[in-house]
Symmetry: C2
Subunit: 816 residues, 2 copies
């Protein structure tokens, strides 16, 4: 019997999308202002559309090429099914569509926020945050809808809609990986291309406009000003949306793969009220519940007083955020205890099978929620205005740009200390609670509030744009004051949002990494093998080179923009007097084309390296398992180094930015108040120039690099592994031989040798259990329970001081 529970996530996602449609209609109904406001807003909207259209053209080519390659592979390699191509295309289309919704609503909400700010602050918050909510629900809703729908489809297609064995489920999930790969490919374009776009436009507008022509920021006479405003949306809205869409899908997918592995460890099948796939459905159910919880959270974000300050606005956001995190914790408790068997068997490498209660899985989800919350505080500490690291950078600005930059670099570098200890602790704890399934579920729980996180995140650039529109259309000062309050809160949420995005990318990659190992069927990744170690080095290098390429790309794209703006200033008569109209669209086109062109090389690096590592040694006849291990080493290298460089670059960039901003309100340096225009401020501006590509281009790109690397690995895995997750437990006879040596009551050791046949070859697996006699005996007893049906040949006699042997023969439950 197939449980109805499989439909739950789709229903939740649909509810989220319906709610989004209503919200969107409501936002669009709001007053969009008039005259100049509308004109500017329309320019930004059109510029955003221009970027999207150019991106889609390039994307279409990319998707076609990859689809053809995937199709060829699926016809050559028997373990890969052609439906992965369909999943890939849909993954790309869904992610692109989610980005489209986000960009459109953001560029429509900005002017409405400005208009609302003319009457009241609570209204301005409501509209800007509702715009963010539409974005958040669009991303989360489409992610869960797409993933779940394809899962159900493949579940019926490959398994007839009911449990057969873990090998068939592996094929379902391998094919589903195409959806995730499609989504993450879009993220590459949106996050990396978008990151280059936003900084190229920014630098180009500033260098010629502010520096050479001496006109203020956001001045409509500057041909690049629209591109600059579009850039905020391209980078911060569409880029972040695609990033989290990718993380969301990949996390849930990885958790499902590991859920299947749990079932395998339990003997190849379980019986529960969910068609025997409870552990696989659980991550989707948590994601589905997260959507409804996020809606509840967004409803709590409101302020009443028109005289509210930043702290009240921040308080309203925090209330919504913390409530949704608490609700996710509660729903995790309910779902985990309801959907999972009370106790499960999980294989721990080197420790053998262990009995894991469902409560321990719940604790793992708590670990994920805590990491999501703490990483935001860590980021906030290292980049927040008025915090000690920022004050130190401000002090160091007094001795020049050199010392400012050293201080900023050092801050970013030191910030890796608590962040990495947090991640390492999270990996350890969630694994200790419930193995890699626990790690993946920790990530799933953290990602459950994605819609809420994105709403908080997207509201920032909307408020920023609203402020720009207020400035350009010369509104009353009170309007700008109100949007400034929102913008200031938005800056804080942008920093914490980046922390959340890194954490999600890190945990997602780990989950994918674990899923990879199970797909390939390797015993683990042993870095004492030199080729694996060599690949760990190569993987570690790639994020560093990727970052450099992304930074150089910004420089090149900005130079093209500079030349175009110079040309317009020279060629268009009356442009400086305001009588000649600048050709905004040309600047938008240049930024668009340059950004998409310049992302090719880093993109190629990301995609090319894993393919080379997998296929070049294959051509030379290397053993597939050895290749799989090398590729795993590469993935680990990219992940470790990528996480470090993401934290370093994001936090250094954020710190420089706020060190510079500190001068706006004035700072005390060596007992003297120092303001904008001072030498120290100029040094801080130089620091910010360095920090800009760090925090908006290369830093956030790391998320995509590490996730995409692990996903490509996952898609290659079946080619290398040839379905070595073959459900040998379920299909063939197994012999377990236990050699128990009792030295004393406190010291016993059992060597368990499992012999089974796989692909016609007899294989042996060895586990060693050490500990007190009681512990060891309990573990041996457990091996005989749940899912594995054994018969003893020799009874163990714990009093004897010498090695004894016991043989357990397993007759699987579902002999096919």
């Amino acid at each position: 019997m197939e449980s109805m529970m499989i439909w739950m996530p789709i229903i939740m996602a649909s509810l989220g999308l319906i709610y989004m449609v209503f919200k969107k209609a409501w936002v669009m109904k709001q007053d969009a202002g008039d005259g100049k406001m509308k004109e500017i807003s329309d320019h930004i909207y059109e510029g955003a559309l221009a970027f999207l259209n150019a991106e889609y053209r390039l994307l279409a080519i990319f998707v076609i090429i990859v689809s053809v390659l995937l199709a060829i592979v699926s016809f050559i390699v028997p373990t890969t099914h052609w439906l992965i191509v369909v999943a890939f295309i849909f993954g790309a289309v869904f992610s692109a569509y989610a980005g489209n919704i986000g960009m459109k609503i953001a560029t429509k909400t900005n002017v409405r926020t400005t208009q609302a700010a003319r009457t009241s602050l609570p209204n301005a918050l409501k509209i800007s945050f509702d715009g963010g909510t539409v974005m958040g629900l669009g991303v989360a809703g489409l992610a869960v809808l797409g993933l779940t729908a394809f899962f159900i489809f493949f579940f019926h297609f490959f398994m007839g809609g009911s449990w057969t064995n873990t090998m068939d489920m592996t094929i379902v999930l391998e094919t589903l990986a195409g959806f995730s790969l499609g989504a993450e490919s879009i993220a590459l374009f949106a996050r990396v291309g978008g990151g280059i776009y936003t900084k190229a436009a920014d630098v180009g507008a500033d260098l010629v406009g502010k520096v050479e022509a001496g006109i203020p920021e956001d001045d409509p006479r500057n041909p690049a000003t629209i591109a600059d405003n579009v850039g905020d949306n391209v980078g911060d809205v569409a880029g972040m949306g695609a990033d989290l869409f990718g993380s969301y899908v990949a996390t849930v997918l990885a958790a499902m793969v590991l859920g299947n592995y749990v079932i395998k460890d339990m003997g190849g099948s379980i019986s529960d009220a969910f068609g025997g796939i409870g552990p696989i459905l659980l991550p989707m159910a948590i994601a589905g519940a997260g959507i409804i919880i996020s809606i509840i959270g967004t409803m709590l974000v409101k302020i009443k007083s028109n005289d509210a300050k930043e702290s009240q606005v921040m308080g309203a956001l925090n209330k919504g955020n913390w409530t949704s995190i608490a609700l996710v914790a509660i729903s995790c408790y309910g779902l985990v205890t309801w959907m999972l068997p009370e106790t499960m068997n999980m294989e721990f490498f080197g420790e053998g099978l262990q009995e894991i209660s469902s409560m321990r899985v719940f604790y793992a989800t708590l670990v994920g929620l805590i990491v999501g919350a703490v990483i935001s505080s860590v980021t906030e500490y290292y980049t927040g205005l008025g915090k000690s690291p920022i004050l130190k950078i401000v002090q160091q600005s007094s001795t020049g740009a050199g010392t400012n930059i050293i201080a900023g670099l050092a801050t970013g570098m030191i910030s890796t200390f608590p962040s990495v200890l947090l991640f390492a602790g999270a990996i350890w704890a969630s694994y200790a609670f419930a193995g890699f399934y626990g790690v993946a579920l920790a990530a799933s729980a953290m990602m459950a509030t994605t819609a809420m996180q994105l709403a908080i995140d997207a509201f920032g650039p909307i408020a920023d744009n609203a402020g720009g529109i207020a400035e350009m259309s010369e509104q009353e000062p009170i309007v700008r004051e109100r949007t400034d309050i929102l913008d200031s809160v938005g800056n804080t949420t942008a920093a914490t949002g980046k922390g959340f995005a890194i954490a999600s990318a890190a945990l997602t990659s780990l989950a994918l990494f674990a899923a990879y190992v199970t797909f390939t069927g390797i015993d683990g990744i042993n870095i004492f093998k030199a080729p694996v170690l060599a690949m760990l080095f190569v993987g570690g290098m790639v994020p560093v080179v990727f970052s450099a390429l992304a930074m150089n790309a910004v420089g090149k794209a900005a130079m093209e923009m500079v030349q175009e703006v110079r040309r317009q200033f020279k060629d268009i008569p009356g442009i400086m007097e305001g009588t000649g109209k600048p050709e905004y669209d040309k600047c938008v086109a240049i930024s668009t084309e340059a950004s998409l062109k310049e992302m090719m090389l880093p993109g190629l690096l990301t995609i090319g390296f894993p393919l080379i590592i997998a296929f070049v040694p294959m051509i030379f006849g290397m053993n597939n398992m050895a290749i799989a291990e090398m590729l795993g080493g590469y993935m680990a290298g990219v992940t470790v180094s990528g996480v470090l460089w993401a934290i370093f670059q994001n936090n250094a960039g954020g710190a420089w930015d706020n060190a510079k901003k500190s001068f706006e309100a004035g700072v005390e340096i060596n007992g003297e108040m120092t303001y904008k225009g001072s030498d120290a401020h100029k040094a801080a501006v130089t620091g910010d120039t360095v920090g800009d590509p760090f925090k908006d281009t290369s830093g956030p790109s790391m998320n995509i690099l590490i996730k995409l690397t692990c996903l490509i690995g996952l898609v290659i895995a079946p080619i290398l592994g040839g379905h070595s997750t073959t459900d040998s437990h379920a299909s063939e006879k197994i012999k377990k031989e236990v050699n128990l040596t009792v030295k004393s009551d406190d010291l016993a050791k059992a060597v368990i040798t499992t012999t089974y046949t796989e692909n016609g070859f007899e294989k042996t697996k060895k586990e060693i259990i050490e500990g007190s006699l009681e512990e060891v005996e309990n573990k041996i007893e457990n091996m005989k329970g749940k899912g594995i049906h054994g018969e003893k040949h020799f009874k163990l006699d714990s009093s004897k001081g010498e090695t004894q042997k016991m043989v357990i023969l397993h007759k699987p439950k579902n002999k096919s």
Copy 2:
């Protein structure tokens, strides 16, 4: 019978030291000039002595504390012998003494070089290079002498001077690791403390002297000027010397450990003309030969023409360098083929025992020599004057300090690409040739020319100092011109020397890492175990935080110096008029104390983390093997990340430095010649300020961090492993069961299950061999050969299409 060959390295080292003593006497006999020259030189000499004495006081405390800790451990842990304490103390003393020789000769040679430059350039080169030669031979001679003497002593103490079994040899080598640990501890003080010293003095002298008081560089009125000149010797001479001393000793040690492992893989004993320890003696023999070869190399470094330019001087150095590399290659061929058995058995993880010919070991040494040469070219490309990366940074300086810094960072980051691919290729190739023994011998061959490398390296700062003395003592311009030629060549050799130091640190760490695995007896380091993966993350983070702490330390130490210089300018009457004498010694004292104080925190981080990882889980009762694997993951993380950050920081720093220097001769930017004093030059100076701590403090410190981490791991290893390298092959009966499945002539698979008893527990090891029938059969035949004496129970019949079984019982040769 004990071979005389064991004495060869000691004889070679002694010859090297005797040659050094003569060279030193010759240099000291040269004319040291008079008057002001002598006075300045004496100040520098006394400053250097002051630093050394302060360092020795701190070192003494450190050595006592560590000795007590080691002694306690050696009494508590039965697998550790108290003689490790003696080895540790001697390692520290030898390294410190080598540094002492180097510092003294460098500070005595500088003024003699100035004096020689008054008469001729060939003489100036001869004296400065001879000073470098004394340094190089002192380091290499003492390293080989100390290590070999202790090896012979322990070989007699633990084994009675003749082969017993690999377990006893493991104890010898574990105890010998104390010598290496002592040497590397000194390197921590010399390299990290020295790096902080040199930059603190430099920045302090410049900030108050050049910027605030407006007096030129090297002006004797500046109280910090002597400290600044001392700093060059402390950082570039003593720091580099201690660094390479540590690498040299550690590399040879690691190769010896892996040599012992080869003997173990060959059944626990071999018979050769070297007392059965040929593979263990070989690395020492190569090191010994390297000393004599280096002497020959240094003899070739001379020029004849007084009108020679940089290229001729460089050519003379290259001639000596390339000749010594070629001679090492030849001597490796001779020693390898002479000292190793013609074919050896080596265990390759996951591939089982393989037969390795001694020629393949020779190829591995060639890999090391190639890496040493190529890495220098790579470094030279990314940091060399007139090369494309530098020209790009120069161009980017025209748009300000921000773009200059982005360009410099990007250059350093991109330079990791060829460097890491080179290292990865070297690991792969040397491992493919001869396993981890091959990796360690590649490192040994590369390090064989250490004396020559150091001579080339130390000559640079001597020439630099000679130029400073010429300037301060107001010599004829021709003198400065001649020293400038030497200085300019010295700058290039400094960059390539840093490349060599990184390469040596990287290969040394890999060799130590491999030795660690054999000491602990773990099966490998599986990063699919979450605690291991978590430690890989933590390890990756440590170099980043270490670098930040080192950078901050420079800032703090420089601030103390600034205050002292300001005080002297205010308090000493007539100081600016040249009538009052500045208190140079106070500045030297401040730089000394501040640098040693500020290196505590990064030092603690380096030593503390591995101890915490090893002992905290032990207190909580974690399994030792699991801890060993975690610590291995940590070591790998530190190594991979440390190598990356070393390359990044060294090359970025070097690139900024030369971008700045490019302005001295003038550069073309956008069609215009631009010189010193331009805005672009000022931007380049800012870049150089950031680069200074990168290339002189945090970058080079990475070498010490990664080596010391791996060495601490190696010293902890026996505590964790409890001598699990127990020579089971030699002492107990082994059963090998071979299951051969022949699918076709092209596809056969053998599963070899080895059962043996270790520490009273029966253990099983499984190897899988796949390939053509012929290959598989050959491998099975090999298992029965060399060192392992087997008897077949079933004959294999290759025509059968089904699984067959064969059992081999091994009767070891040296049954004890």
